[in-house]
């Protein structure tokens, strides 16, 4: 238990350090952009401009601005105001988009794990068969075809040709299904390959042969003895998988017109909404860090040989 506490403490420290680094870097970048974000938009009266500057923390020397911004963030959890979405604070925008993106991501991951592991196990158990070759070819497809191509094809097929799903919008389960599947497929493909490799390795081990010699049913052997060991690389892949899902959501939210964090982030990039953009980068950093920590801990729990460092 002590190990766990000290580990979590270290991870927290790292996360704070990382966030601080990202924050400072972004701040420097933002301030080093020549010109003012308010130039060239419309002619702004001096009084209003001063107000704007105060609101966006652009008054005072750079160092003062930095301290102010950092202080706001640390003590008040205040990420500032969005530059282009008037009257919305960054935190509000994020809060709005978060549930959508989160549910999309979770659905996609769950789908990916279930599909991937199942496919991988079947492939491994029936190695060399038509099922194996077929599934692994499909897996390569899933990995090499870009997300958005897949999504476009899916829309073509399932929205226009065979209208099962609605094209866009948000709210019902049906509407989330297609985007989640498209998001999860590449991840499922990779997981399938990982599972297959892991299973093949484990199935060749002596303790599995012992289990077979003991007369246990194939299903028991595969599910209870082989699978847990084979899943280790999958568990450690969940960290990068989350990153992949979050990245993929940027594109998919655009295609399916979902008002999640992803589309807001992309828009902030296109609209040059620096504060919103930075706020989202910080949020994504926290999300990924948390996910990676959870994965590390799970890994250490599952595999007793691993020591948490």
């Amino acid at each position: 238990m002590q190990d766990l506490a000290s580990y979590l403490l270290k991870r927290l420290g790292w996360m704070l350090l990382t966030l601080w680094a990202v924050f400072t870097l972004s701040f420097v970048l933002m301030r080093s952009v020549p010109g003012n974000p308010f130039d060239g938009e419309r002619a702004v009266a001096p009084a209003i401009r001063r107000q704007l500057e105060a609101r966006y923390n652009m008054d005072g020397t750079p160092l003062e601005q930095y301290r102010q911004a950092l202080g706001n963030l640390v003590f008040h959890g205040d990420l500032g105001w969005s530059m282009k979405l008037e009257d919305y604070s960054v935190a509000q925008v994020i809060a709005e988009g978060f549930p959508i993106s989160a549910s999309l991501a979770i659905f996609a991951l769950v789908f990916a794990v279930i599909l991937g592991v199942t496919a991988g196990v079947i492939s491994a158990v029936r190695r060399g068969s038509v099922a194996d070759v077929g599934m692994m070819s499909a897996a390569v497809l899933g990995i090499a075809i870009p997300n958005f191509v897949l999504a476009s094809l899916a829309i073509l097929l399932f929205v226009f040709l065979i209208p099962i799903f609605p094209a866009a919008g948000w709210g019902t389960f049906r509407q989330i299904l297609l985007p989640a599947i498209c998001l999860g497929l590449p991840v499922a493909a990779y997981i399938a390959r990982l599972t297959r490799t892991g299973m093949l390795e484990v199935l060749g081990r002596d303790y599995v042969r012992t289990a077979a010699a003991k007369g246990l049913s194939k299903r028991t052997i595969v599910l209870r003895h082989a699978l847990p060991g084979a899943l280790l690389p999958v568990v450690s892949y969940l960290g990068p998988a989350t990153a992949s899902v979050l990245t993929g959501s940027l594109v998919l939210e655009k295609i399916f017109a979902l008002p999640g964090m992803g589309s807001h982030f992309v828009n902030s990039a296109l609209q040059r909404d620096f504060t919103l953009s930075m706020g989202m980068v910080l949020t994504y950093t926290v999300l990924l860090f948390t996910m990676n920590t959870i994965v590390d801990i799970s890994y250490a729990i599952i595999d007793p040989r691993v020591k948490m460092q």
């Binding site: 002590q2 190990d3 000290s6 403490l9 270290k10």
Partner: protein
Amino acid sequence: MIASSTPLLRVEDLQVYFPFSRGSLLRPQKGFIRAVDGIDLEIGEGETFALVGESGCGKSTTARAIINLVRPTGGRVLLEGRDIAGLGDAAMRPLRRVVQMVFQDPFASLNPRMTVGDIIGEPLKIHRLAAGRDAQLEVIRLMDLVGLNPRFLNRYPHEFSGGQRQRIGIARALAVQPKLILCDEPVSALDVSIQAQVINLLMDLQQRLGLSYLFIAHDLGVVRHIAHRVGVMYLGRIVETAAVDELFNNPRHPYTQALLSAVPTPDPRQQSTRQRIVLKGEVPSPDREYPGCSFVDRCPLAEAGCREVRPLLPEAPHATACIVEQRAESH
């Protein structure tokens, strides 16, 4: 016994300690692994000194420390009278022509991407001993010397068998014409029949070229042929040294006796009537501290005083680091 004024190699109180830390963030613990805990030995010209012991007793580390592949923590290594302990790679370079090494794993000790000719010829290049055609001829000569077919100069290590690869390693060591070769378990990874061939080759080379060897092994049987003197190691310390026949006929340290009893003899009658000494307990971890004798927990002769005082190896032809034995000797 060679009586020389300056032995080729003399090691005094060699120590190699590896630090490590343990424990959680809030309560860190530091410790040392005493891989080599004060070793003395001496090798003369044309002589073979065998260092034997179980796995993990520190023999390989000793060899590596002697040629500074691993930095010694303390002690002196006198090569031809000059202390070389702790020298850096640059300072060691000229000395590489005096002492060389043959490694244990015939598969891993050769660069898989170099031809055999390149491997054997590399020392010639580095030390500028020969160039061009002369270098190639020298490589051919060396291959011939160790019993390899020189026509396979342009082949790659993976195209040879284990025994042949070991010969390549020996040829490489011989390229600089050294006086001393450290052989780190050179036959442990080979089949038994091949082991004999390689041992014979080493002995033959010793006779022809006047080489000295520090021969490391965990198997006493292998050592009997090639060694002049033997040192027995346990947990980083030498517990007994003697001339080879003397050691085999009259082992004094209880550990040596146990080791010898495990060596099979070819005579089945003798084998069945022999008494196997089985030591109790297991080899303790090398990070424990032993103010006294490190063998104390497993030794059949252990007494109270053994825990307090560390037994020293006297300077004698047949020396034993055991206070009980030393007492028995002096009576």
